[in-house]
Amino acid sequence: MAVRKNQATLTAAEKRAFVNAVLELKRRGTYDAFVSTHNDFIMSDTDTTERTGHRAPSFLPWHRSFLLRFERALQAIDATVTLPYWDWTTDRTPNSSLWGPDFLGGDGTGTGGRVATGPFAQSGGNWTLTVRPDTRNYLTRELGQGGESLPTRADVDAVLAIATYDAAPFNSSSSGFRNNLEGWTGINLHNRVHVWVGGNMSTGMSPNDPVFWMHHCMIDRLWAGWQSRHPGQGYQPVRRTRNVVALNDTMKPWNDVTPADLLDHTKFYTYDSAY
């Protein structure tokens, strides 16, 4: 069984294996297909129309499946690789080893916020952005410059204490655990981490920054933490509901997996420590 680990605990060899698999996926063109898929849903998921990947109950199972597909693509290159998670309640500064030159590289510098260090600096020749919202073809970041702070442990605990998974109208205005976690209302865990990293992570093409996967791995871990705290609660809506994915509906673009199929992550992987 694959174990997903805290990125801060990875050995130098584990970091190298992850980075090399990501770079190989990029070289093959597969990586950019993931960026495209994400942005397609970002652009089409709205509060009043069909919504699947974002601002909707299926935000969590959609991203769980998205991450699983990405992880399997990495494992096809190197079977030892699993997705690490970034626990931003503990690794909270631009000085974290996460942003080291041997891992994700550092903050953006100069005009345009260009990341100039590490394996994902465009100058290294392995990381040119093709699916992008503007003319910059290089990775950009503005760590901590977006006016948002990273969520604290207390913020996470407060969100995990919300008993109801989601509620009508099942969009960005909903109360409930999912939307407080996603961040369109209330405490906001997920959205503000995108803003804190800034640069590409602020955009619809956020998977251009590999930290996307580590952030969403943390969000996925928090879903599991919520489930263990509320064994009597479950995914909503259970019944067919206009414009959103109910418990037993298949999810686009794959059409081969439902939220119900994904509720138990231990069928696929475990976490080194539960939240």
């Binding site: 005009t111 345009g112 992008r132 003319t135 959205n191």
Partner: protein, 131 residues
């Protein structure tokens, strides 16, 4: 430097010389909600979501206008251009706005959204929107 001192109002006449807007009008595919040149109060206060605007912010021309009809703007009912290129945007259920550049952060008005995008672009141009 405050936003109000870097902001320059552009007349309606000049606004209508904008290629994208002029083309859209000529094609008859859109309804412009123009009510004349917008006036920015000296305080730099923001416009309401139903108003149009046309200004230079940090050396970028930003324009916003209520829209209906075909295209990306049909859903949001509004279009923002940065140096003539359309910014993909979306309205949230609570009336706030997000764009493809600042997707995870909400803004009270399209003008604030446009200015935030200019700040994030940091001199770069928007990529053309896919059809």
């Amino acid at each position: 430097m405050s936003e109000s001192t870097t902001t320059t109002e552009i007349t309606r006449r000049r606004m209508l010389q904008g290629t994208v807007v002029a083309t859209a009008v000529a094609a008859g595919t859109v309804v412009l909600g123009l009510t004349g040149p917008t006036v920015t109060p000296a305080s730099g206060a923001d416009t309401e979501s139903g108003d149009s605007f046309d200004e230079v912010f940090r050396n970028r021309r930003i324009q916003g206008m209520p829209m209906s009809g075909e295209g990306h703007h049909a859903m949001s009912g509004y279009m923002v251009l940065i140096d003539g290129r359309e910014l993909h945007m979306m309205r949230n259920a609570d009336g706030t706005w997000i764009s493809v550049i600042n997707h995870y952060q909400t803004f009270a008005t399209p003008r604030a959204l446009a200015r935030a995008a200019v700040n994030s672009l940091d001199g770069a141009d928007l990529a053309p929107l896919a059809a």
